[in-house]
């Protein structure tokens, strides 16, 4: 017990002694753990708003649609007969519809959008009566716009919109649990639209009178029908769908159970999770690089401390245990801070959008989440400190106290190649290869940050690609876009911390190298440029790797979804911008390093 107390006390003392270093590590791991926490606890948070909306609107258990089965003359008598049979099938306790649905193009100002225009009676329906949150329900000449769609369009009650060229006044804003949330309207029931037009991904929902809906249908773009069913046992909805869904291609109906509608309601949050979980792993890797760099940078000071410990009777195991305990304390602190941050930020990301009423309620940290986040934090700190810990255990007390400098690495071909380069690059390449682990970590750090940025660029290119220039922005895209912006900033900040840490570690480690080359005639500017080049070379390599890695990352996150290529100009801006930023960041520690008096360094070396 006293041994544990001693290890803990020594670890805490050292952490307090090197507080800035400990805080940097804490921040790096906390960021990764907060992101992981968010990714984990957002699961299922939209179930509650869906249920609230379902209750408020008398939502259906099953929805049947005839999309894709209407001929030029409209729906066939046989298909209508099938609707009638469904409405009176065993287990069905109530129904509404079938309602006529037209598929016109909506125009509001400069914005155009494909629309599912459902014809409804002014009277209250037994199943799926949309909850009017603003204005009034449908009436002749007036349309009601689904709330999330209205937000995306910027439409308010009293505005005028046009549907298939006919003018209507917006009389109300409403929500429903019978149609997937915007912009997933077409996801289950399918969508129709004007002939020749490319399939829309962002169809919105409006309600108008049945007569107007029918009148908006044309031979080329016929009216389809929707039927809402309430079952005696909602849990039996999937079985009901399986029993009554005609075999594929034999139509004329497509059935959707409420669970699919509930899952569609989670689309926005699921999209966020799709971003957050891989981002948390990438940030974890970045944090691991930070820990490795910072731990490596303190290797010399750490060795001296280990030497003192051993000199006063500490065993190799004790020396290693103290080092591991320090990082364990930081990891546990970062896990706690990450969990807390994730818990506090989650409500901001848990909103399912305006398509549903009610909020997600309190977000709970489950035991599994706490366990996973804590384990991940410990793993990050542990993996990165294994090398210094093993070194601490192995190094002799005399060598540790003498601060024996680890011999620098040597790469024959790089030394030969660098001899042919200008002085700054010659110095940069030789500096970079003296401690190969450091530029490798830097390269990995930039590959991770760069791939995240490339993935963001692909996301924006893809969104632009499928939304078109004149369409409204989907709520999921907007929210994911904001999330990506936030994550990009975090990635860039962590990468900047890594750049500064690596450069400073290099400056400290190469004081003698710099002093010698300056005594041989290299100028301050050349040594500063050399130090900067030593950071730029791995950064450039990392960014080159980032381009294909970012594409792979996006493909993995999208799981086969549409993927556009980012503009070559944007990639060029990313690479040159990053390299300029790195040059700017490294110039500060590099200049400080180059100002050290040569004579003093050579005398003490």
């Amino acid at each position: 017990m006293s041994r544990v107390w001693l290890v803990g006390r020594l670890a805490i003392r050292d952490l307090r002694h090197n507080l800035p270093h400990a805080l940097l590590l804490l921040v790096a791991i906390t960021v990764a753990m907060a992101t992981l926490t968010l990714g984990l606890i957002l699961h299922g948070v939209t179930a509650r708003p869906y249920w609230q909306t379902r209750v408020a609107t008398n939502g259906p258990d099953v929805v049947a649609s005839s999309v894709g089965f209407a001929g030029p003359a409209g729906i066939s008598a046989a298909a209508l007969g099938r609707f009638d049979a469904l409405a009176h099938a065993p287990g069905v306790t109530a129904h509404s519809g079938p309602y006529p649905v037209a598929w016109p193009v909506l125009r509001f100002g400069r914005v155009t959008a494909d629309v599912m225009a459902e014809g409804r009676s002014p009277a209250r329906a037994a199943v799926d009566q949309p909850d009017v949150v603003q204005g009034s329900w449908v009436r002749p000449g007036g349309v009601v716009v689904e709330r999330e769609f209205a937000d995306a369009l910027g439409v308010h009650v009293g505005d005028r919109i046009s549907l298939a060229g006919r003018r209507f006044r917006v009389v109300g804003i409403a929500v429903t649990a019978a149609v997937p949330v915007y912009s997933q309207v077409c996801f289950y029931g399918g969508c129709s639209g004007p002939p020749g037009a490319r399939p829309s991904f962002d169809t919105g929902l409006v309600w108008l009178t049945e007569a107007v809906a029918r009148s908006l249908g044309t031979a080329a773009n016929p009216v389809t029908y929707y039927l809402n069913l309430r079952l005696a046992y909602p849990a039996s909805a999937p079985a009901f769908v399986r029993a009554h869904q005609p075999p594929p291609g034999t139509g004329p109906l497509a059935l959707t159970a409420w669970r699919s509608l509930r899952d569609a309601a989670a689309t926005v949050v699921v999209q966020e999770q799709q971003v957050l979980l891989p981002a948390s792993w990438l940030l974890g890797l970045l944090a691991m690089a930070s820990v490795a760099v910072l731990a490596g940078g303190r290797m010399a000071a750490g060795d001296r401390r280990v030497g003192l410990l051993k000199a006063v009777g500490g065993t190799p195991a004790l020396a290693a245990a103290v080092l591991l305990a320090e990082y364990l304390v930081i990891a546990l602190g970062a896990a706690a801070a990450g969990l807390l941050t994730g818990r506090l930020v989650a409500p901001l990301l848990a909103s399912p959008g305006a398509s549903l009423v009610g909020g997600p309620g309190a977000v709970h940290l489950g035991g599994l989440t706490v366990l996973l986040v804590t384990a991940a934090a410990i793993a990050i700190a542990g993996v990165s400190t294994v090398v210094p810990a093993v070194r601490a255990a192995r190094i002799s007390a005399v060598a540790a106290l003498a601060e024996v400098v680890r011999p620098p690495g040597r790469q024959d071909w790089l030394i030969r190649l660098s001899a042919r380069l200008p002085v700054a690059l010659l110095l940069g390449m030789r500096l970079a290869t003296r401690r190969l682990r450091r530029p490798l970590l830097s390269c990995v750090s930039f590959a991770i940050t760069g791939s995240a940025i490339v993935a963001v660029l692909i996301f924006h290119a893809s969104v632009r690609g499928h939304a078109g220039q004149s369409g409204p922005e989907g709520p999921g895209d907007a929210q994911v876009s904001q999330l990506l912006l936030m994550l990009t900033v975090v990635f860039v900040l962590l990468a900047a911390v890594n750049v500064l840490a690596i450069t400073w570690a290099t400056v400290l480690d190469t004081r003698r190298f710099s002093a010698i080359v300056r005594s041989l005639g290299a100028t301050r500017r050349q040594t500063t440029a050399g130090l900067t080049a030593a950071q730029l070379l791995p950064a450039f390599a990392g960014l080159l790797l980032a381009i294909p890695a970012g594409k792979q990352l996006y493909a993995a996150v999208q799981n086969g979804g549409p993927q556009a290529s980012p503009s070559g100009w944007w990639l060029l801006v990313m690479v040159t911008g990053t390299l300029l930023a790195v040059a700017g960041l490294t110039a500060i520690p590099a200049r400080i390093g180059a100002r050290q008096p040569i004579a003093a360094v050579l005398t003490e070396a």
Binding site: I415, G521, P597
Partner: protein, 248 residues
């Protein structure tokens, strides 16, 4: 870079270097005047901490003086920009340090060619010159060895070859035999002897009487100031071994 004798190669006047302020003021170099002629070998002797190394650093432009002037090959270096001072160190000065200060990751030949590469010479020319110099110091067969694979004496000979890479006007040596055993000391002394014979200007800071005895002029230093100066007849040419009594 040939210089005629009796022409001043290095001159210092009223040279001072101070550290600290007021009560903690330390005068490492205190009013030194020095004139080194081309082709001359000057030894500066004194006990540890008397300011010898600091003086050498000031003379070679590695450090800035608090007061006084230094002329190197007719150029007044005190007010030179860092850039010009670096160029001067590169082209006109060769340093030899007690601790060798070789790059651990570079082979002997790569260490020797480094100053030439920094001066912008072609890799081929730099390598050729480095190989010649290593042959000259008797380490042609060790060219591809890392410093860790060489003895102390061999490392110092590599360092001397490196100091000569850009054919400097003057070589400044700071305790060049301080870390060497007797045999290695003799090797280094012989090397300096051959440099002296070839007309190389040398300033050697040492506390080793044997190496000081090889100089044309011996200056004694204490507490940052010159206290005595002795002209030694004829230097060491051809009589080194006998003079220092090292050849057993």
């Amino acid at each position: 870079m040939s210089q005629t004798m009796n022409q001043s190669m290095l001159r210092a006047g009223g040279l001072r270097k101070e550290y600290g302020r007021e009560a903690s003021l330390v005068r490492a170099v205190d009013g030194v005047d020095l004139d080194v002629l081309a082709g001359e070998t000057v030894a500066v002797m004194g006990p540890s901490g008397c300011g010898k190394s600091t003086l050498l650093h000031l003379l070679g432009g590695l450090d800035r003086a608090t007061a006084g002037q230094i002329w190197l090959a007719g150029q007044w270096i005190d007010q030179m920009s860092e850039r010009r001072l670096a160029a001067l160190r590169r082209d006109a000065v060769g340093f030899v340090f007690q601790a060798f200060h070789l790059m651990d990751e570079l082979t002997a030949v790569e260490n020797v060619e480094l100053p030439a590469l920094l001066a912008g010479r072609s890799p081929r020319a730099a390598r050729r010159r480095a190989t010649e110099l290593l042959d000259q110091v008797g380490l042609g067969d060790r060219a591809r060895h890392l410093p860790s694979e060489l003895s102390g004496g061999q490392r110092q000979r590599v360092a001397i070859a490196r100091a000569l890479a850009n054919a400097p006007l003057i070589v400044l040596a700071d305790e060049p035999t301080g870390n060497l055993d007797s045999e290695a000391t003799l090797d280094v002394l012989r090397l300096f002897e051959s440099l002296h014979e070839a007309g190389q200007t040398l300033v050697i800071v040492t506390h080793d009487a044997r190496i000081a005895a090889t100089a044309d002029r011996l200056i004694s230093m204490r507490d940052g100031a010159f206290i005595d100066e002795t002209r030694l007849t004829g230097g060491t040419s051809g009589q080194l071994s006998a003079l220092v009594n090292l050849d057993g």
